[in-house]
């Protein structure tokens, strides 16, 4: 546990050594800010209450799918490339502690970015009378955070497979897109087969429940299982490096 925390802390802080943290923070804030302003203007024009849920949708496709691979791409590939992995693997740290630590540090950094976006619903809550549907926004956030956790896990796992940072970036981008598009075959199928593919998709578990304010055990367990599976695969991949 202690090792996980040590590694996570270092990983979190290391985002601030590079421009990544600042660029990512600015981009997230700026993109959402533009849409937020647009949303407010439209709401004023047509006289209806603005819905922050639409704003958070923007977080998912353009930002999560791009930002998470960028944040995770170097987590283990860089250690592998520069040889520092040898230090970690000869320190009294278990392989799974290393992988979980890497995931946790990256996930916590992503949480900090998500926390920044809470500015918009808070402002909307003040502007709109009698306030926004806070429970629904909270459910949105829970869903996005769970999804981000699973996506971060996938990114860390993919990063463990490569020495090249960009190979890791594009590979995790590819895997995440596959997880998103997994629902596509459902359009041509019926019954259980369709349900199977729908349930496979990483985004369906958000859009069919959390987005409308529903928190389901089924969707939570999907994201948690995916996270655990990805971290397990990451650990196996690190273990296998010892045998080469």
């Amino acid at each position: 546990m202690r090792n996980i925390w040590t590694i996570a802390k270092k990983e979190y802080v290391s985002f601030f050594y590079s421009p990544i943290a600042y660029v990512a923070g600015i981009v997230v804030f700026l993109v959402l800010g533009i849409f937020f302003t647009y949303d407010l203007n439209v709401a004023i024009l047509y006289q209806y209450p603005p819905d922050t849920t639409y704003l958070l949708d923007i977080l998912i496709y353009p930002l999560l799918f791009l930002l998470i691979p960028i944040l995770t791409m170097r987590t283990l590939s860089d250690e592998n490339k520069t040889g520092t992995l040898e230090l970690l693997l000869t320190a009294p740290v278990r392989d799974y502690e290393l992988v979980i630590g890497k995931w946790l540090g990256t996930f916590l950094f992503f949480l900090s970015l998500v926390l920044l976006t809470a500015f918009y619903p808070l402002v909307t809550n003040v502007l709109v009378d009698p306030g926004i549907d806070q429970a629904k926004i909270l459910a949105n956030y829970i869903g996005i955070i769970l999804m981000a956790g699973a996506m971060t896990g996938v990114g860390v796992w993919i990063s463990s497979l490569f020495k090249n940072t960009f190979a890791a970036l594009f590979a995790s981008l590819g895997v995440l897109l596959l997880l998103w598009l997994a629902a596509a075959p459902a359009q041509f199928l019926q019954g259980n087969a369709a349900a199977f593919f729908t349930n496979l998709s990483i985004t369906e578990h958000y859009f069919n429940s959390f987005r409308s304010g529903v928190v389901n055990l089924k969707d939570i367990s999907y994201y948690v299982s995916l996270t655990v599976l990805a971290l397990f695969l990451g650990t196996r991949s690190i273990e296998s490096k010892r045998w080469r």
């Binding site: 090792n3 970690l88 000869t90 010892r242």
Partner: protein
């Protein structure tokens, strides 16, 4: 302290180390000497718990490197050959991080101590990426010392350093070797001579010789080559040397230096110096040539090959 029995490691079809057996005692500085690709790094990586052997066992303090890997890693300080460091971190933060990973108590204090031991006080807050090769080496060494390991495993600790830095690092290692077991690899014989109590020579994954460095050198070459430089009249000086008893052969090399060989047990240097000065030659230099590793290897591997001749029909897997 370190016990290695029948240790073998294969990378695919390539056998990196083949049936190694050796021990290291507490308080000993053990040198691991060999050319690139001899299996030094592989052996060290097995001892540090980085990778498991294909067969055979290695134990430190009675703990097996595979079964008790975590305890071993706590006991061993390791400096890999490439000195991997986090470029974007500051020296202090890096050492603190590595200390925390090794569960060092009072890590702040300990980091400061280590920074002092490796002489990095002035650069403690520098980014690692801005450090010179020698300083990086010292930071790497500091990292290996943090958790006060009983055993230090250093892979080529002086490679790529300038002479002054080499001297500093060697002195540091000698000092460290007084209270703990140090195992270091090198391909420089003189280095092994200066700092090691015992040397193991390894070639193509096999131990070809194991002894105290002085004995090794004597054993390996019965003849000593000495280089002489005189101000002028090189030819006649060479002629003079040729007449001195005990000299095996004399030649003049391309740089205008005279080189003579004499038997090791019969040092002709005083005779040569006296004779040259007496005849009025300006003697500028009289240097015994260090036996270099290449010669030793050629010799040892030749001996090895000869010893192996009866079993030539079971060929080495290596190309």
């Amino acid at each position: 302290m370190i016990t290695v029995r029948n240790l073998t490691k294969d990378y695919g079809i390539h056998r990196a180390i083949d049936n190694l057996n050796f021990n290291a005692e507490k308080g000993e500085v053990l040198g691991f000497l060999g050319p690139n690709g001899a299996g030094k790094t592989t052996t060290m990586r097995i001892l540090t718990g980085f990778m498991p052997p294909t067969s055979g066992t290695a134990a430190i303090d009675g703990l097996d490197v595979v079964d008790d890997s975590l305890e071993i890693r706590q006991k061993v300080g390791y400096l890999p050959e490439t000195v991997p460091l986090y470029e974007e971190m500051r020296v202090y933060d890096y050492l603190k991080y590595m200390g925390d990973l090794h569960h060092v108590e009072n890590s702040d204090e300990r980091v400061e101590d280590v920074i002092e031991v490796v002489g990095m006080e002035e650069r403690a807050l520098s980014l690692i990426r801005n450090l010179s090769k020698g300083m990086r080496q010292r930071v790497g060494l500091g990292q290996a010392l943090l958790h006060q390991p009983e055993i230090l495993i250093l892979d080529e600790p002086t490679i790529g350093l300038d002479p002054k830095q080499i001297k500093e690092v060697r002195n540091l290692i000698r000092g460290l070797g007084e209270e703990r077991t140090v195992m270091l690899s090198t391909h420089i014989l003189s280095e092994a001579q200066q700092i090691c109590d015992r040397v193991i020579i390894i070639n193509k994954g096999r131990i070809v010789a194991e002894d105290a460095p002085e004995n090794l050198q004597d054993r390996l070459s019965s003849v000593r080559t000495v280089t002489v430089r005189v101000a002028d009249q090189i030819e006649s000086a060479a002629g003079l040397i040729r007449d001195i008893p005990g000299i095996v052969s004399v030649r003049i090399n391309d740089d205008g230096q005279i080189q003579f060989d004499n038997l090791r047990e019969n040092d002709a240097r005083p005779l040569v110096a006296r004779a040259l000065v007496k005849k009025g030659f300006d003697l500028l230099e009289l240097t015994p040539e260090a036996v270099n590793l290449e010669e030793i290897f050629l010799k040892l591997t030749r001996e090895n090959a000869e010893a192996d001749t009866p079993s030539q029909d079971n060929p080495e897997s290596e190309a």
